[in-house]
Amino acid sequence: MKKRSLIPILYIAFLMLPIYWLVAMSFKTTNEILSGFSLFPQTFTLENYVTIFTDPTWYWGYINSIIYVTINTVLSVCVALPAAYAFSRYRFLGDKQLFFWLLTNRMAPAAVFALPFFQLYSSIHLFDTYLAVALAHTLFNVPLAVWILEGFMRGIPKELDETAYVDGYSFPRFFVTIFLPNIKAGVGVAAFFCFMFSWVEMLLAKTLTAVEAKPIAAVMTRTASSAGYELGLLAAAGTLTIIPGAIVIWFVRNYIARGFAMGRV
């Protein structure tokens, strides 16, 4: 038993090493970083974080990212709920083909869509808005949300629906007051995945924004190129991008295992 738990410990240690290095770097001065190797920060400094929290271009990068991620998550889950219900409860013309077509959008390389998306959202005057990024990210998040929710809904017996209708519930009332509470975990997991994939995607987010809705990634690359090689600042900015994800994952920790199986186990 002891020997067996060594494998997860080693694996987690491997995962934590680069993260530790990023965090350690963020507390070092640029001088210390460039002067050579040190395992721990020798002259501990918060200067890098102070820069980020006092410069509007920096902290607005985070706020922008959080805004479009939130819009995307709400939008994706809301449109996916009825669709997932339809796929889990009914057979209809072309259902299998439609389901696969939805999934194919998860397979399209983001690089393929970068330029057409830029043209599409420019032509409808949404370029450089939160909505543009949120809408663009639904391309891969909506299919995923449908997939996850359908898995969870299939686990709910159909008798629940029928009993509710016999009791005189209308469909919307049944869906909101009875069905939704039953798939709470599924909604949480779907929202988590939408948050995750919207938060980590940067190519489309960068392509679709310029000034107003600029995500943190764009701020990071632009600063890296204009202000030379400020590794400490870059490390601090990177460290701060880990925090929202860590908070969100802590909330869904008890559902993670099941959620990753898309409810299909």
């Binding site: 997860p8 990023l22 190797f37 339809a86 959008n105 390389p109 990634a217």
Partner: protein, 287 residues
Amino acid sequence: MRTENQKAWFFVLPVLALVAFNALVPMMTVVNYSVQETFGNNQFFWEGLGWFEQILRSDRFQAALGRQFLFTFLILLIEVPLGIIVALSMPRKGFWVPVCLVLMALPMLIPWNVVGSMWNIFTLPKIGLMGYFLNDVLGINYDMTQQPLSAWITVIVMDVWHWTSLVVLLCYAGLVSIPDAYYQAAKIDGASPWSVFRYIQLPKMKTVLTIAVLLRFMDSFNIYTEPFVLTGGGPGNSTTLLSIDLVKIALGQFDLGPAAAMSLIYFAITLLVSWVFYTLMTKDDAQ
């Protein structure tokens, strides 16, 4: 089971409208570019299938495609077995389970450009932890910006670091759904650990493993941001994977016709391989 009801289409309509807007319009733009030649000034000339032929015959595309398949093959070869091993050795219950799961999922929640920067900082010779350790402690000559082999190893290790947890979490989800009675029965029969794995654990993980392989295939085949930030495709073209090459042609050289033709070929290959996985997966569901 499921009842026949054509009104279900109304439920699917919002999703359909949203995804069609996001997928069909850009896709038609790409198709449009792929059959035309432009010299700027918004003037376009019919080109037919010329770009497709040119791309398929070009050494550059074939080399990038080869690198892409090698990359995807290698990371699947490492991540799937490693993920299974870690999932099998995880505790099933107790205080440490959520802690382990959260720590393991952490790399997946880091923005992709930060993953690239992070590994860049981590592997710098003299300054980075891994670069310093390999060069100055072990005496291995390692420099990602000069040696293609070092660059490849770094990109692969980065992907293993980033995504093995997805396989672990999926397999773990499959494992915890096995009732204790199965293990007790195996113990009474005196089954070896290997036969427990082969006849109890592996069949239970089959569905989730297919999902894992499918997701890992799609995402690794489309990978762009992490290797781009880490190596920029270099040294030379050694780590220029398909997406990196595509963006170079489309946004770097602004050759829209060839880039669009390449996009469609690229998408078709992803689609074909994913479809094979998907059919295998749903065939199992039906049984």
